[in-house]
């Protein structure tokens, strides 16, 4: 009996497989595999494989073209170099400029977003003009600002209109006391409109009735800002403040496209890029990348904790909301 049943099962198996492929379960598995393979493959090949290679390369002395057997294992030497060389780790202090710039940019964006969220004439036009820089390519921005800051050109001319004397003005991209500030300014220029649009979106998601109620109660616009707008968008503002910290650690574009890192404007990534693609010290560049990635992870974990701490009450509210959502979703299921 048992043997017979076993035989029957064996005979059924191929039949079962075909049936399984037609069944809901089988179809589900097939579609999951079919739809997930390519994105996962792309993610692995272009993100996680390079990530693993980066960690590996950071222990070797090698160039891109060095064949595998000729790579020299050097242990922690690359990491020690990252901290010892004057041009590597110390470049991170330039991040401070970018951090200050990012905070300034957020303040400007928040201010303008608040203005535009009240009734304003031509608000669409203003919004569009201030947002447009975000859509210009980095390389075009490089040319625009090389031109903008050239001695006697656009910026100097405008300052002369305001009564400055050309001889009192520094060379904006050469003078080491101002050139980093000039570069940070281009980054603020490029992104403040984008941040503003983001904040306007957040402000618009506040219930309109709240403003109307506040206005009826005689609150002026400043009071409305403090008591209604700010509390309701504090999550996104805090998130952006924290993001600006990691963002400034990895500052790259302004110096790369405008000064190529000359005259003391080389940020950490500009130098890493040069070490990797010009001097081809792939091991050292990999070690630099790994060090910064570790710092970014640490910062990200710290961010999460800070956010949790700052918004523990708001989180509870959110939780209740999501629970409701989940219930609704489950109901739909």
């Amino acid at each position: 009996m048992v043997a017979k049943e076993g035989k029957a099962a064996k005979q059924k198996k191929p039949f079962n497989l075909a049936k399984w492929a037609k069944s809901r379960e089988g179809q589900k598995t097939i579609i999951i595999i079919a739809f997930i393979t390519i994105p996962l493959l792309l993610l692995l090949v272009f993100t996680y494989l390079p990530f693993a290679e980066m960690v590996k390369f950071s222990f070797y002395k090698m160039k891109y073209a060095t064949p595998v057997e000729k790579r020299v294992f050097v242990g922690w030497k690359n990491y020690i170099d990252v901290f010892k060389r004057d041009d590597c780790f110390s470049a991170l202090k330039l991040s401070l400029y970018y951090m200050v710039g990012a905070l300034l940019q957020l303040a400007i964006a928040l201010y303008l977003a608040t203005i535009l969220s009240f009734k304003t004439k031509c608000s669409g036009l203003f919004k569009g003009l201030m947002f447009f820089p975000y859509l210009i390519s980095g390389i075009a921005i490089g040319f625009i600002f090389k031109f903008f800051y050239t001695r006697g050109y656009v910026f100097d001319t405008v300052l002369q209109w305001c009564g400055f004397n050309l001889n009192d003005l520094p060379y904006w991209l050469k003078d080491q006391s101002v050139n980093n500030i000039s570069l940070v300014a281009t980054s603020v220029w490029r992104y403040f409109g984008q941040n503003m649009v983001l904040f306007i979106g957040a402000i618009m998601s506040v219930d309109k009735e709240m403003y109307e109620a506040a206005e009826l109660d005689g609150a002026n616009q400043f009071q409305q800002f403090i008591h209604i707008i700010l509390p309701s968008i504090r999550t996104i503002v805090t998130l952006n403040i924290i993001l600006s910290i990691t963002g400034s650690l990895s500052a790259f574009e302004p110096p790369y496209v405008i000064t190529s890192g000359a005259n003391g404007t080389g940020t950490y990534f500009v130098i890493m890029n040069e070490i990797a693609h010009v001097s081809q010290k792939v091991g050292l560049a990999s070690a630099m990348a790994v060090v910064l990635l570790l710092i970014i992870f640490a910062a990200t974990i710290a961010q999460k904790l800070i956010m949790k701490y700052l918004f523990r009450n708001a989180d509870e509210e959110d939780e209740i909301k999501t629970k409701k959502k989940v219930k609704v979703a489950k109901g739909a299921n």
């Binding site: 179809q27 589900k28 579609i31 999951i32 739809f35 997930i36 390519i38 994105p39 792309l42 993610l43 090949v45 272009f46 993100t47 996680y48 390079p50 990530f51 980066m54 891109y64 201010y111 303008l112 009240f118 304003t120 004439k121 203003f126 569009g128 003009l129 201030m130 947002f131 447009f132 820089p133 859509l135 390519s137 390389i139 075009a140 040319f143 625009i144 600002f145 031109f147 903008f148 050239t150 050109y153 656009v154 001319t157 405008v158 220029w189 409109g193 984008q194 979106g201 002026n220 790259f252 990534f269 890493m272 693609h277 792939v282 990999s286 910064l292 990635l293 970014i296 739909a332 299921n333």
Partner: protein, 286 residues
């Protein structure tokens, strides 16, 4: 009625606020526009004019398109526009198909690894692109993808957390009952994806296409590593022609820059709303 009433009784402080408000808006709009406008002015100047006049002085004629023609020719921008077009079509098509399919599976099916895959994509977004290129470059070399348009296209299709999140968020609002009734009618999962999800996802697709499109069009760093040959350069890359010996002929450079940003400007004017909503949607998770 009520409005006129209000304006009449605006206090002194109220008026000051109105002045400050419009002054700020005009000031920051001026700041935003000035670098680009100065570029436009210069692009219309002849060499002699450029050499002899102040950069902010208007050109003699706004009909002098010589610089645009020269810039277009020297940087081979015709070819570059075609290349950018090819890259855009394939990257967008690929990213949309791959992204919506992944989002569909992640949103509609529970299976082991669902959470892990989401986290893998989220974690990937933390890695700065510039740092990753140190070793991506090596892999691109191994695959034989360097200096081939298809290599760059395939690389650009991957790792895009923001559109995946836009799609997933959007799908959460598409009732599952739609899927279920389709199943009862005998539809396969692929048909549900193709005939129900894709059409309903259209607004999200437009949003993510515009965002990804602008990013792809403007991308120059990876392009500078992988698209060196003259005949496969994209528009952003073609601007590199103006470094080196041409580096100080700003009337020519400005013309090139203006040509390169015209498509973005046109898309922006047509699709402002989608771009704004894309920025807001992308930021919630990103």
């Amino acid at each position: 009625m009520e409005k006129t009433h209000k304006i009449k009784h605006r206090s002194v402080g109220g008026w000051i606020w109105v002045v400050v408000k419009y002054f700020s808006l005009i000031f920051f709009s001026f700041v935003a526009v000035l670098p680009v406008v100065s570029c436009v002015i210069t692009a219309f100047k002849t060499d002699e004019e450029y050499a002899s006049t102040n950069v902010m002085q208007l050109p003699e004629s706004f009909l002098n398109f010589d610089n645009f023609v020269t810039a277009f020719k020297t940087a081979h921008m015709g070819r570059a526009f075609i290349n950018s077009g090819i890259v855009l079509v394939f990257v967008l098509l690929g990213a949309i198909i791959v992204g919506t399919q992944l989002a569909y599976v992640l949103n509609r099916f529970k299976f082991p690894g669902n959470g892990l895959i989401r986290n893998l994509f989220l974690f990937a977004s933390l890695l700065p692109a510039v740092a990753m290129q140190v070793t991506v470059y090596k892999i691109m070399g191994t695959l034989g993808f360097i200096n081939h348009l298809y290599g760059y296209i395939i690389m650009s299709m991957g790792t895009d957390v923001i559109s995946i999140y836009i799609f997933i968020q959007f799908m959460e609002n598409i009732p599952v009952s739609l899927d279920e009734s389709a199943i009862i009618d005998g539809a396969s999962y692929f048909q549900i994806y193709w005939k129900i999800m894709l059409p309903l996802l259209q607004p999200a697709i437009v949003t993510s296409m515009i965002l990804k499109g602008v990013n792809t069009y403007n991308e120059y760093y990876a392009a500078s590593l992988y698209l060196q040959d003259q005949n496969i350069r994209t528009i952003a890359m073609s601007l590199y022609t103006f470094t080196g010996p041409l580096g100080s002929r700003y009337n020519l450079i400005c013309a090139g820059v203006i040509i390169s940003l015209l498509p973005a400007l046109i898309i922006f004017i047509i699709c402002q709303k989608q771009i704004y909503s894309g920025i807001t949607a992308g930021a919630v998770k990103g």
